[in-house]
Symmetry: C2
Subunit: 497 residues, 2 copies
């Protein structure tokens, strides 16, 4: 059937969708979510056919994704014919039935996701199937490789390639900004790709962006890493494991995070960047993604998957029940990390020790230090100022200003300090409240917004002592934060008996 | 935040969706699938916020569903504020975790579906959860009542109210067109609402539409039934159990048909129309929706649910492995039904007997005939011509031409007869092939398209004897059908030894 392009001028947010008049859809015997092959000059794609009475019989409504793929102009003639549904829908049903998918079936599924051939409803059914029925180790391996191989692969041609990764969930935990320069300063390769926050006050990429651009393509990334050994960039622009972003977009709003997907999501990116050794932090406890039991289960699965993928994975299960460092929010986290790298005496000691521990682990993994000597070497690189120089070199290489220091950074100019209302000991700092508060204050979009902790768990406080300061870039957001804190104080103080 | 309406002039197909510029979304801290409250003058709704760079910062893109709900004009100022996600998303997660949902939680879920507050991805996760984790009888009861009570309820103020229903799947099975007039002619109420076909060659509503309009609102329906006792109308326009259509639209493309949903889907409509007694046909066997085992399981569950809903349900499990009647496709099925009602000697005897059986059952259920005497009464009503008069009366009441007869109806004018290629006995007629062939020929959209069987299972045939005729409304569709038949002959002939 021959129709005339009507550009809708809007994205679907993924799936390739065209819109037909109900009469045309009936004529072609199309049911909801049926597909059509859309042909324009010498290009074609398979799109999902929606139906709308606002489209005339001689027209075909075209969303941005299809327009871009076929390079369509308004009124351009298009030919469409009905097309079978992708067979990956059968795979989704199979997984819902609890059956194991083969390597080929998983590759087909992932390819269809990457090529936008599945609807959001279909991807959601897949995520639900994986959530309820789980994935075998074989399936996780195939899924990981499929997600990596359907995107860009980084080939540095060097070994070893190190990586530091945290399962996440603990606010303020920016060890990456310290570990990467220590490792790179030791002459080892660490091409770190990070994510942006979805619901946290900041992701590593959001925080690094305060200091330098983080958006690069794979060629630029390769140049930076080969010359400077390390980088801290945003993974999202690299087209590495692109299926992952599309799946996260569906699973996140549903608050689903099935274990098999978590492993594949993390490891696909490592596999695609040629990583040989990972130091993997698994925080557990209240306000993290893990209970102690799930942390142990994850360690076992990561170890197993590492063996299958040829990646050595050192898992470190660690109490994550309070924030790491003092700052939460992009700028405040940069101040923390720079204070550590600058060897300032008042730097956040928990962040420093945790970073040194992981750096030491990686130095031993890479055989740069003998067993048991990694921590000392890491300390030496940090205290000598080599890590700071390397960090500034990386900032410069990514196009930022290398003449930055912890004292030159300014958090949001609207602030308010919350003080203890009684004498006692800080018994807990609620991660979930801290994260929500950070978002309300405007982080990560407002780089200067966030929370600065003046006390940690175990600190003795007297009535009137400052507990934390909140920062915002507008009076309105500061006031929103204050209202929230009034009802949700993240600090739990225990009065002494 | 204050924005200017940009009408997108297209439907989403359900969910209330607005589109914001990425900067505005970041400013409001909106993640994918987050909600906003959209306020215009004295109306408001909660919509899902999509993000698109094609929308200017001062604009808000508005899909048809939101436009209609708020009665918006182009450029009209709108205020938006972020809104919490509906808590029914937590319910979906709970069901995915295999937990039982309470009555209140199920009502909330169904209300959100009806009000278009959930995305397709969210409804898909719900369907997947029900498919993998099942529903308890309590949950099915709550779901059924919630689906009924969130839509229109028919209150006739009479008793009993009868209903004939088939789980479906068997092509040509139009007993409804015969049972309804017999029952109504007996002076009993039978307000039959039917569906249109999604992938079958015809649904009861599609077939009845050959003879009379089937689209009515609930007030019109009530008038027709109170005056004429019976009707055969399309359920889709009545706003009865509207959640069901929205769920079917998601589950159908995924080929999911979880038992709990099947029960609720059928019974919600009966409950909403005040039905007191149902004769329920459960066909089983190849090419139906059921194995014999599932049929038995369904019978048990329907019985149990009937008790909970105060509806007496007589289940009849019946072999459905070949088509019922001779015609498949809207017009051809009408010819079959009229032949039976006209008491023609060459009418399809299987359709006649099956209809009489179910009519007899309902007559006994309604105590119009004593136990064991229902069939005889049904036969009497049919052979006396009262059923035919009642059917014509109903056709007239629905706005059709009552002067119709089986011989006045014309199937598609392009036809071709397929003959036996050898002597033997018809061993099987494949329902799935017949259904697919019917669609290829253009049914149900082309009312005259379809298949007319000249032999049934057990018929002795000689080489060259006609097996079936295919009808289409265009030469192109006839030829498509012939190509399909060439590769997929629905008839299996066994040569005699």
């Amino acid at each position: 059937m021959r129709l005339k392009t009507k550009l809708l001028g809007i994205e679907t947010g993924g799936p390739l969708i065209v819109v037909l008049n109900p009469k045309i859809a009936a004529e072609l015997d199309l049911s909801p979510a049926d597909r059509v092959r859309v042909m324009a000059e010498n290009k074609y794609c398979v799109a999902i056919a929606n139906i709308s009475k606002h489209i005339k019989e001689e027209e075909i409504g075209v969303y941005e994704e299809v327009q871009r793929q076929l390079n369509l102009d308004a009124e351009q003639p298009i030919t469409i014919i009905p097309e079978e549904r992708p067979s990956s829908i059968t795979q989704i049903k199979k997984k819902l039935d609890g059956l194991e998918l083969s390597k080929d079936e998983i590759f087909e599924l992932v390819t269809d996701i990457v090529d936008n051939r599945l609807t959001h409803a279909e991807i959601s059914a897949l995520v639900s199937a994986i959530y309820t029925k789980g994935l075998s180790l074989d399936e996780i391996e195939h899924l990981t490789k499929a997600m990596a191989e359907t995107g860009q692969m980084l080939e540095l041609g060097v070994k070893p390639i190190l990586d530091i990764h945290s399962i996440g969930g603990v606010p303020g935990n920016r060890i990456t900004l310290i570990v990467v320069p220590i490792i790179a300063a030791a002459g080892l390769y660490i091409p770190k790709t990070s994510s942006r926050a979805i619901t946290d006050p900041s992701g590593t990429a959001d925080t690094m962006e305060v200091l330098a651009p983080v958006t690069f393509n794979i060629t630029e990334l390769k140049e930076i890493v080969l010359e400077h050994k390390g980088c801290i960039v945003w993974g999202g622009a690299l087209d590495i494991a692109p299926a992952d972003d599309k799946i996260i977009e569906i699973e996140h709003p549903l608050q689903l995070d099935p274990t098999g997907m978590l492993l594949s999501s993390i490891l696909a990116k490592k596999y695609a960047t040629g990583v040989t050794n990972i130091a993997l932090e698994i925080p557990f406890g209240p306000g993290t993604k893990c209970t102690k039991i799930r942390a142990a289960e994850l360690e076992k699965k990561f170890k197993a998957m590492g063996g299958r993928l040829g990646i050595s994975i050192q898992c470190v299960k660690i109490d994550g029940s309070q924030p790491v460092g003092n700052g939460i929010g992009p700028t405040l986290e940069c101040i923390d990390a720079l204070q550590v790298l600058e060897n300032l005496p008042n730097c956040p000691i928990d962040l420093k020790n945790r970073s040194l521990f992981f750096a030491g682990l990686l130095l031993e993994e890479a055989k740069k230090a003998p067993k048991g000597k990694g921590l000392a070497l890491a300390k030496e690189i940090l205290s000598s100022g080599k890590a700071l120089s390397k960090f500034k070199e990386i900032i410069g290489a990514q196009g930022g200003n290398p003449d930055v220091s912890s004292s030159s950074l300014q958090p949001g100019k609207y602030d308010e300090t919350i003080c203890a209302e009684k004498n006692g000991i800080v018994q807990a700092i609620d991660n979930d409240i801290i994260k929500k508060l950070g978002r309300i204050l405007g982080a990560p979009y407002n780089k200067g917004a966030g929370i600065y902790l003046k006390a940690k768990v175990g600190t003795k406080v007297k009535e009137g002592d400052p507990l934390f300061t909140i920062y915002a870039e507008s009076g309105r957001k500061l006031s929103d934060g204050l209202v929230f804190v009034e009802a949700n104080n993240p600090f739990k103080i225990k009065e002494k008996a």
